[in-house]
Symmetry: D2
Subunit: 346 residues, 4 copies
């Protein structure tokens, strides 16, 4: 049986580059084509020395593939995948173009006209822990944003079980690689190093993804979220601290409540290969380079407030690794194929 | 007129060391004595090359001084300052021993018997922005904890104006210097670098300080706080993100509410030399090495939740600099004396 | 055919931990036993959350294995491996105990009596690029030090070809993980961050390894080295900058000489899977987490001095990965088995 | 007596910004005018929040001043200072335009035509430790490059005393702030963090400055240098490790030679306020934010090679602080005025 041929559109950003790293070491697919505008014609290993073992030339256009990842910027990505879909190629999109079901919300948040709104109803939000059965037969899957991946996985069990009041707080701390490979003042080493700041206080684009997915898990009045992302001086990793108020009478006080909550999470994620309920407050560094999401649910001692902490590598579980996990499901491969490497620590 | 002689007990930790740096460049006091057990007998500049311009030998016992800073660990500090107070020396204590008014709370949180509970009623909580008039005549002033400094300054205006519901969330991100100079696994470079984690989820010792001080500002049912500190890969700086729910009808929606809130903060801090209401989400790096606290109050767009962000250098405004500010007030000096250096950026 | 059973003595340091990561994902051996004194009785994944997928309990004593890695400190390691060797087990030692052929030099540098000097003549210095044929049949192989790995690989081609004068300069820049997992003032985050310093100016223990191996490559008067290691604020990686004076008439001036030198390196390493002659000055980050060594030889424009730069991940090619490469050779497996993962960048 | 009015051309780069920080806290001059093209019309404290205490608006053109610093890029700087010099204003130039005496060398290294070669003979190389008497009466002083400052101060004593052979090796490790404030791929946080690399192996522009100044100190055949700069993951600081071969018979072996060498350095720098001979291998962090240069001379144990290490904060002693030191000399002020702050550690 022929190996599935896989391609990457725009391999020259961090997500594309990370897809190449993961797909090259995947035992059951073959990375056969990578594109990139500025670097077209160059050997991949010349542009990215850490990928020197991949013998591919960066092309201006995608070659013949069975499945394509798009790592283009939003809007351009939707435009790029339309012809691929028409040719029957399966597509996994790393941009924001197919994440939101509400095209008006998309257009308001991203400030652009959606190039292919007709595709939204068929696109699947590619978070396997919530949408595995829809992902399997899909032709177009959208990789969730990095912040939403961490926030949704942290909150899904308590939202699904209808345990909390209608507003949640999501305080995320992210490394800089989520901001991409293009140099800016915001990601200039001398200014990021030894600094922390909050940003996007006027409303981050990932916020509607978080509420869209949480509200799918429940009925009744819509839940809302206050989301504040922070940039911290590291390259990879997101740690998200979620705060929620338990509905009265739903969770016991003290240690008993904590154990019950923990059990709820262990049950919810018991069959998930890439979500682990941690025994201690988790460290992003324990997920570095891996597809693992660590979650630690607890209850604040003085207030009874739920505090749920999650950790991921934003470029793996929060982007490229999540994408490969989707691919495995779409191709009927073992879900963990190519994603079993442990985190690199320290 | 003779210059005031000032001493530091335990100069060999980071707070003691930072006090030495600031006091040496203070124009109106003279640093005349520094102590330290392990390094006694050595020149200060030998132990800390960056302080080579200070010509002092580390002594086992404090010499003759008019005012002493204690940078001893908790419990040991109270024991050390008792004899000084008896000799009529003014004391500024950087430990936790005189921060909490409730001795039972102190003993529960710190797991020790308080060596001098009789001093608590006279000790002043040395946050000048809230207690300036009490600090001026005091003999014993306690420097607030670093996290409480950032949290209390962030929340005081809305608490004082009785604008918020009874529970607040305080999510803090701190560099490692707050953990002190003693090496531990938690502060080992290879494990802190490229990592973020939450800690003290069972209840951090600084929590009762925060609620004690906020509740002084208001009447009625006590306000409570959920406080989660995080360790991030940098040396100096704390950024605290506070979340509070406005009481119904107190603050307008949207931009109008934001401007009103901002004006409230500007009015509250208009005469404060070391609190500045920032025009943009602040960076810890803009306070690096300085005594400034930057505060940015805003309202989350989708939920109307108040989000108030503050930044300090934990070793300056959050410890040694706050101590020097107290000293200036106690000695009748200009409050900004010795504290006017700008942050060192980048 | 039964899979080879492999064990790790002292899995709780960084080298032991990294061996576990690499051996667990190795397709042709099985990690069956790991030991550690302080953590004995605990699950490996409890002590090191990033290794949670390895289902092993840390034992006080090594179980039945066919090949053992020792990641004990020097002296203790030699003592620990003697009984294993007697039982016929193949041993790969990560300590310094079997690197130096000259026991007096060992005892002088390490300040201890060698516990098993009789083993030195049979122990093989496990740098495959120089000693592959001796490694294959050996029972006891010693993993080279991290600094020597980078320095010897950088200098071997010009030493072997007898192109340089008798003294070389080796200026190395290392991350902190080489200093191990035990916290010290020297590796305390607050003091390493935003700092660089040189150390061991009185003579680093790795120096005689460098000269021992370089002198094996040549005849005549012994070559000597000035070696200055530096600690820089990062976790993994060593970049070594070597300076050597070409013998008169051996290398052409200018671009022609540079190309000839580069060709010499490409020829020398043409069959090596883990040494790559880089097209540009290499970055340690391009080797992060991988077993690759990047080398860049050039000639300084104004002085004609040879400048040869090498990069490795000190915990992989400089320790655990180098060890696995030796194991593959000793077991007759493909040399690259289990070591093909690309570096994780950025 | 009126205070000297001082201005800064191009305050919006890191050197200009750092000049503003230092000049604002200088007790004997007044910073009265700052310029910057892109930010003209804005308050300085709006653009740089850490400088909020400086009440100045960034202007398009310099106002009336007695002395001007230019922090323009090379070539533009020379063009900008010509009219100032004609008006009799004293000028201290932070660019490379007036450092090299040999205009052909300048034009070759910088690839531009010098706009004012006629000024080179009167411009003074502003390293006070070597040129104090020429600086005092000068109208135009050039601030040395950051790398040359560290290398020349490290090597001057042994060159002046004619102790070494004709070629030296200068291996420098620099933080990223020396690369300036403009974002580039080379200074992108995600790529600099956890990385070290060498650069400018084809010949760095600072090399001829180093040899120009060292050769002024001696007679006979010109000394040459191999200079390799490295970029390491920190913001501020340069550590330079110099290697030199002692001439036969000039320096004793072993500890005796080391002590003699150290004494040579202490004598050479005994009256210098900003050079300190360190008792141990120095740390850049011990100079952070200060104007101090720490130097540690020693002799390698096995080879007898001289190893001389120096540390500076590249933005202070290596740029803005060195500039202020020159200003103090030119204005007849105490040389240490405004520069006495200790380093901020940790």
């Amino acid at each position: 049986m022929a190996t599935t041929r896989v391609g990457i559109i725009n391999v020259t950003g961090y997500v594309g580059m990370e897809l190449a790293r993961l797909l090259h070491q995947h035992p059951q697919v073959e990375l056969t084509s990578v594109t990139g505008r500025s670097a077209a014609g160059q050997k991949l290993g010349k542009v990215f020395p850490h990928l020197a073992s991949i013998n591919l030339t960066i092309e201006p256009e995608l070659g013949e593939v069975d499945l394509a990842f798009s790592a283009m910027p939003h809007k351009e990505s939707a435009t790029a995948v339309v012809p691929l879909l028409k040719r029957g190629i399966k597509v996994i999109d790393a941009s924001a173009d197919f994440r939101l079901k509400d095209v008006a919300e998309y257009e308001r948040r991203y400030g652009v006209t959606h190039p292919a709104p007709e595709l939204l109803s068929n696109a699947v939000y590619g978070l396997p822990e919530l949408h595995r059965t829809e992902i399997a037969p899909a032709q177009l899957v959208s990789i969730p944003g990095c912040y939403p991946t961490s926030a949704i996985l942290a909150l899904a069990p308590v939202v699904k079980a209808d345990l909390i009041e209608l507003e949640v707080i999501v305080d995320s701390k992210s490394g800089t690689s989520g901001a991409g490979r293009t140099p800016t003042q915001t990601t200039h080493y001398s200014e990021v190093n030894e600094d922390v700041t909050a940003y996007a206080l006027e409303g981050h684009r990932h916020l509607p993804e978080i509420t869209q997915e949480l509200n799918i898990l429940r009925t009744g009045q819509a839940l809302s979220a206050t989301f504040v992302p922070h940039l911290i001086p590291m390259t990879r990793g997101i740690l998200t601290t979620c705060y929620a108020t338990p509905l009265p009478g739903k969770i016991s006080d003290g240690e008993k409540g904590r154990e019950w909550l923990r059990q709820l999470y262990e049950d919810f994620y018991k069959d998930e290969p890439f979500v682990q309920v941690a025994g201690e407050p988790p460290h992003t560094k324990h997920t570095w380079g891996s597809n693992m999401c660590l979650i630690y649910p607890t209850i604040a001692p003085d207030t009874g407030r739920l505090v749920i902490i999650s950790c991921i590598d934003n470029l793996v579980k929060g982007a490229a690794g999540g994408g490969v996990q989707n691919m495995n499901i779409m191709l009927g491969l073992p879900e963990v194929a190519g994603l079993q490497a442990s985190a690199v620590f320290p």
